[in-house]
């Protein structure tokens, strides 16, 4: 439903572009277009290697598999399955995201066989000790931010990008604002700069190696997060992206976390 409203909104805005558009309206319009451009994929699965690097260059890695179900009228449902480090093997995290409302989250701890509902207040906290916060990896719903168009810039490889400022509208974000570069052709995120609560530049996230799947959906092979304040970084390398695999809400049940492999 939300998608239809958004689409109608885009059509209305497109019809009204003769009237001068404010920077805020233009920012929202591009964010909405990007969201529409990347909708309809249904469900997807992928594998990820997360490499953490500290300031002295020491690395450690985690292997995680993800299953995602696109939300219709609500946010996406996501399942993360941890393969390494070995002591957390079998741990599963189930997330139901909902725009501005806090996400619902359950954690399955295999040693105890315990399913724990956890608070999702900890949006700014690190995911698995990495430089990615929970909020960086969550489903990016349009209503999670307010937008402001800053201009057009070249953003590498001969690409042109929309530069947009976005301010988190949800509670407990660790950021005062983000600057996002989205390529003008396919509306893919290319770079995000994150500014902390003291308005200092905290991190930069860059996407590399975009590939097109099932003729429409672009996913990057690599996401790289650099923390400018600590010198630490985290690299996510994505593998085996599959779309429309036939997942349904049945596969995103807190009761079934124990048997997920």
């Amino acid at each position: 439903m939300k998608k239809y409203v958004a689409l109608t909104f885009v059509v209305m805005l497109a019809a009204g572009t003769a009237v001068a558009e404010t920077a805020e309206q233009k920012g929202l319009r591009i964010a909405t277009q990007a969201d529409v451009r990347d909708s309809g994929w249904g469900d997807s699965t992928a594998g990820m290697v997360m490499t953490l690097r500290n300031r002295s260059g020491k690395t450690s890695s985690r292997i995680i598999r993800t299953k995602t179900l696109e939300g219709r009228g609500d946010g996406d449902k996501a399942l993360s399955l941890f393969d390494t480090p070995a002591d957390v093997k079998g741990t599963a995290m189930l997330t139901f995201s909902h725009g501005l409302k806090p996400d619902d989250q359950w954690l399955y701890l295999p040693a105890l066989k315990r399913v724990k509902r956890i608070s999702s207040k900890n949006k700014s906290g690190p995911f698995m000790g990495s430089e990615f916060a929970f909020e960086d990896l969550g489903s990016q719903e349009i209503e999670k931010y307010t937008y402001k168009y800053l201009g057009e810039e070249s953003c590498g490889k001969g690409w042109k990008c929309h530069k947009i400022e976005r301010i988190p509208a949800y509670k407990y974000s660790g950021y005062t604002r983000q600057t996002v570069w989205i390529d003008t052709k396919e509306l893919r995120p290319v770079k995000v700069e994150f500014f902390d609560r003291k308005r200092r530049k905290l991190k930069t996230l860059t996407w590399k190696g975009y590939r097109e799947y099932i003729g429409r959906y672009w996913r990057a092979d690599e996401m790289f997060m650099q923390n400018h304040q600590t010198g630490k970084s985290t690299r996510l390398q994505w593998k085996n992206y599959k779309f429309k695999t036939g997942l349904s809400s049945r596969d995103f049940n807190k009761n079934s976390l124990a048997r997920q492999r």
């Binding site: 500290n54 450690s60 480090p85 315990r114 690190p126 000790g129 049945r250 009761n255």
Partner: protein
């Protein structure tokens, strides 16, 4: 022994036929030191212990079929009885649509609270491993699950009862007389073959996660009867109705577990409830600090075999959220009737990619002679565990 040989043959046959076989698990060394001499003659002062838990899992047909095999064994230098082995899990899974069927030896966990696991009744507690009630023996079962929305209904048929194992003469956490498992007796004429059954419905609605359960069968916790120089476990028949409830707010978790239990001897109620409040990102760091408060009640009052008859637990949980997943949980249990206190600490940290260091301590003080915990008053200990995961 025959069972073990059969298991090994079956497993090796299975292994030679599957391709995507998956082994994982851990081996661990544990050092335990008791701070005082035991209250009862013969008790040791600590020692070294090694354990192994290999885990085999295989799934096929897109996860619609699966086999799990998890044996466990421990060798303990102090207490012969604590040297023990068990098949934690050995089950077969079949999933079809909204239905899941499991047959074999399996393990389940019910509950939401931290101080005790009151509602959790399917598996026998392995008290030799730890006194925290979190280690369980494998339970033979047939389990049928029907998932409904983000929840479901589970039906359990439990054809074989697992007796609780107790520390030997050298062991700690025991009463003055040793509990002799060989003297076990049952209220039911079917003894350990009594067919126990259970049903549980759990659901998640907005910020609320709840479960209702019913159990009918052999009590997992025996009464202890004096039999000469030893204590003999006596297992009564039990009916238990259970409730689990958790409200998840932004920083608050409100939790409740309650049971009503009926046996031929008595009917009683017990509950544990409280909250956990989390301060996120303390001191502008990545660390989270939680504050926990839970109250434990048992209507059996001072006759209770439980140490949780009118007790308050106050504790704290620290998660550094660092790459090594450093965590600490510590707290004090305070008995409001007897003013007895016990302190517990659990901390862990990953070393490198595949080792984990754990520290555990339990200290008792001001324990009143009338408190059921009195028999443990000299069993303060500190334990260090190093586990290698593979």
């Amino acid at each position: 022994m025959k069972k073990i040989i059969f298991t090994v043959i079956l497993l090796s046959t299975l292994l030679s036929h599957v391709s995507a076989a998956e082994w994982s698990g851990n081996v661990a060394v544990e050092l335990r030191g008791f701070l005082s001499q035991g209250a009862w003659p013969g008790q040791g002062d600590g020692g070294i212990s090694v354990s192994a838990q290999p885990e085999f899992r295989h799934q096929w047909d897109g996860g619609n079929f699966g086999v799990t095999f998890i044996p466990f064994a421990r060798l303990d230098s102090m207490d012969d009885e604590r040297s023990h082995a068990d098949i934690r899990e050995f089950d077969f899974l079949w999933v079809t649509g909204d239905w899941e069927f499991r047959a074999g030896i399996s393990k389940v966990f019910w509950g939401v609270t931290e101080t005790q696991h009151l509602v959790d009744i399917i598996n026998q507690t392995d008290v030799l491993e730890d006194i925290d009630q979190e280690e369980k023996l494998g339970q033979p079962m047939l389990r049928v699950t029907r998932t409904i929305g983000n929840g479901g209904i589970d039906l359990f048929l439990l054809p074989w009862f697992r007796e609780r194992a107790f520390p030997g003469i050298e062991g700690r956490f025991r009463p003055p007389l040793v509990i002799d498992k060989d003297l076990s007796s049952y209220e039911s004429d079917d003894e350990e073959h009594h067919l126990d059954w259970s049903i549980r419905w759990n659901q998640s609605v907005a910020n609320l996660d709840f479960a209702l359960s019913w159990f009918q069968g052999t009590s997992r916790e025996p009464l202890l009867l004096q039999a000469g120089e030893a204590l003999a476990p006596f297992y009564v028949q039990l009916k238990q109705a259970g409730v689990e409830l958790q409200y998840t707010g932004e920083a608050w978790l409100w939790k409740l577990e309650a049971v009503h239990r009926e046996t031929t001897a008595e009917n009683y109620n017990a509950f544990v409830g409280g909250f956990e409040y989390t301060f996120v990102g303390i001191n502008e760091s990545a660390a989270d600090l939680g504050v926990l408060l839970e109250y434990n009640y048992d209507s059996r009052d001072h006759l209770a075999l439980t140490v949780f008859e009118n007790d308050l637990f106050a504790g704290t949980r620290l998660a550094l959220n660092d790459p090594q997943s450093t965590e600490l949980l510590a707290g004090v249990m305070y008995d409001l009737d007897f003013n007895s206190k016990s302190f517990r600490l659990e901390a862990s940290r990953r070393l490198g990619e595949s080792y984990k260091l754990g520290i555990e301590a339990h200290i008792f003080w001001d324990v009143d002679p009338q408190d059921p915990m009195y028999v443990f008053r000299k069993d303060d200990y500190i334990q260090i565990t190093l586990a290698r995961y593979f």
